[in-house]
Symmetry: C2
Subunit: 366 residues, 2 copies
């Protein structure tokens, strides 16, 4: 096995949080309104960087000022969140964004007002703080839900334990919502295969695909959670392994791929740390339907699928000719196809023919 | 660590499937219509066994006859499924119920008819087969989706690997959809704590609750999947450990508990293998709101919550006085409370005070 010597060093988040506090204290000392500059996060400030193949946030900003009545409450809430994040990081604790909300929700003394009425008030302010300070939510010791499984020839150090992901039977390691603390100790693999559905992951585990083809397999179980996206990003960068994505042949599967590769609009500020521009797509493609004669196991597109195809055709990151061709072909055929439809050939087909052949021949979409 | 010597011996599924085929062949030889007897699965044939605390299927049956035009297609489909299950078991392969559908879907020669048009045709017939043969879906080598995580001081043998679930950092083992092949090699724990939300599981992992309190922790991530329910059932039976369930304080959390304990209506025929009647409930209770002064972090009941409370109050397995009291108190207070609302005390509160005290004092609901 190769030794992985690169180490993940987090930025000094406490320093950044302290800097924010210091700046506000200065405003007060200068008898100015305390303020807080936040990059705008609307679609109007998101663009697609064709060179890096990543969604990126532009440089439009907004200023939140304490003495502006329309901003006061949000300003107060932002500072509460920053102070709590500072406490979490200092104490080495992590909180879910729901716990954070409960921790901060209280009555403001001498008033009938609560600090927060609903989690929908704290969630966007957490993202504001991430963007303003250029830190990952995970580095603020806040976390979203976890989802996803990993299996294969990699040893991960997690909180003092060395976990050999090739020795987890058919179960695999549950990917937590935060993987910043993971240390990749050693690995021996040719590539990383990222799989949309849990059922297809199970199929490939049963076929010992990861062993026979010497790869690390990750199941996203639908749209990939942040922890899962970050794990793929870190493995791609730190292990220098190719990433190959295998999803359903429908606009939803293609979007899952695009989020893994280029990032998402909502988290455009974190594309560099959550996206994996080197990722390639193995299937299911519309061309597969003809190549492998899968006509009898396709499904008719619903209106909502057709609408989604049209949306994808508008996105700048789907303007590559290969993707325009696939999306147009999907509309023209009027069908979608699932990964599991390959079972109509035989259960083993996907592991013994479909994937090895397409990957060996380099039949991958960009 | 204790050695676990009990072993899981599956029934002879191939024999049972063969028996079904033999019986049909006999019908044909006797020039009778081939038939197939299936226990009825409607609510009219489900009852609550108060002694065992399990939902059980009654003994009403239906007969599916090949020469009855209304039954012919379903008869043919059932036999196709039985034959495929026989093939899977013989080959030592496992298929998802979606793969099974794709494997069996084909044109019937000489007609314009397909064997199956939609997975909604094959799914209920799989359950029929389970019930008729008294086998678990997992024993037919068919599987549903997987979900859930386990961590703690137990060594599980899975496909030749010995997995020490106390050495998986903060990640934990992903519970697969089938756990029939798991072998519990050894364990050292006082009880099993089953937790509804992934975020609360993470909290308790971070607080090292399972280490400090010497327990095995299972996260169901919402309603428990079959693999997760079966794992809890097997650990309860084979390791003879108490099971304690920790869910949100709302009708949905209480129902998750009742399914883990008594089984579900849809799978009443498998309650003995999926339910854990010995399970007890630690929280969140409505009484907790007063005991721990959590009034400011409750949430108002929505109409859909109120309707669900009324439904639960009708179910025979919620007729215990403790549960009637909780459900009525919930309606009276008009609020629900989440597990994570305990974070309003402090992040550590749930792990250092709430759970240890309630469990030590035996403040558990039946």
């Amino acid at each position: 096995m190769k030794e992985n010597l690169s180490k993940k060093e987090g930025p000094d988040v406490v320093k950044k949080l302290g800097g924010l506090g210091f700046q506000i204290a200065e405003d007060i000392e200068r008898h100015e309104s305390p303020k807080f500059v936040v990059p705008q996060r609307g679609l109007g400030n998101v663009s697609f960087d064709e060179v890096d193949n990543l969604l990126v946030l532009g440089d439009k900003t907004s200023t939140r000022s304490f003495l502006n009545v329309a901003h006061s409450k949000k300003f107060m809430q932002s500072i509460l969140i920053a102070a709590k994040a500072d406490e979490l990081v200092s104490k080495g604790k992590t909180a879910s964004i729901r716990e954070l909300y409960y921790q901060l929700k209280h009555n403001i003394e001498g008033t009938k007002e609560n600090t927060f009425e609903d989690q929908s008030e704290s969630d966007p302010l957490i993202v504001d703080l991430e963007v303003a300070l250029e830190v990952l939510r995970e580095e603020l010791h806040l976390k979203a839900d976890d989802k996803g499984t990993v299996i294969g020839n990699i040893v991960i150090e997690d909180s003092g334990d060395r976990i050999d992901c090739s020795k987890l039977g058919r179960s695999g390691l549950a990917i937590p919502s935060i993987v910043e603390h993971y240390n990749f100790v050693k690995f021996d693999a040719q590539y990383i295969l990222v799989i949309e559905t849990g059922a297809m992951f199970d199929r490939l585990v049963e076929e010992k695909y990861h062993i026979k083809n010497n790869c690390i397999m990750v199941s996203t179980k639908g749209q990939a959670a942040r922890g899962c996206r970050r794990l793929v990003n870190r493995m791609s960068n730190e292990l220098q392994l190719p990433v190959i994505v295998f999803s359903d042949g429908d606009p939803w599967g293609y979007y899952i791929y695009s989020v893994l590769k280029a990032g998402s609009m909502a988290l455009a500020h974190e594309s560099k740390r959550l996206g994996t521009p080197e990722a390639k797509f193995v299937g299911m493609t519309m061309t597969d339907i003809d190549t492998y004669d899968l006509h009898s196991v396709t499904e008719k597109l619903k209106d909502v699928d057709k609408k989604r195809i049209d949306e994808l055709l508008q996105y700048p990151w789907f303007q590559k000719k290969e993707w325009k061709k696939e999306l147009k072909l999907m509309k023209q055929k009027g069908v979608r196809i699932e990964q599991q439809a390959l079972a109509s050939k035989s259960l083993e087909f996907v592991a013994e023919e479909y994937l090895p052949k397409k990957i060996e021949d380099g039949e991958l979409l960009p």
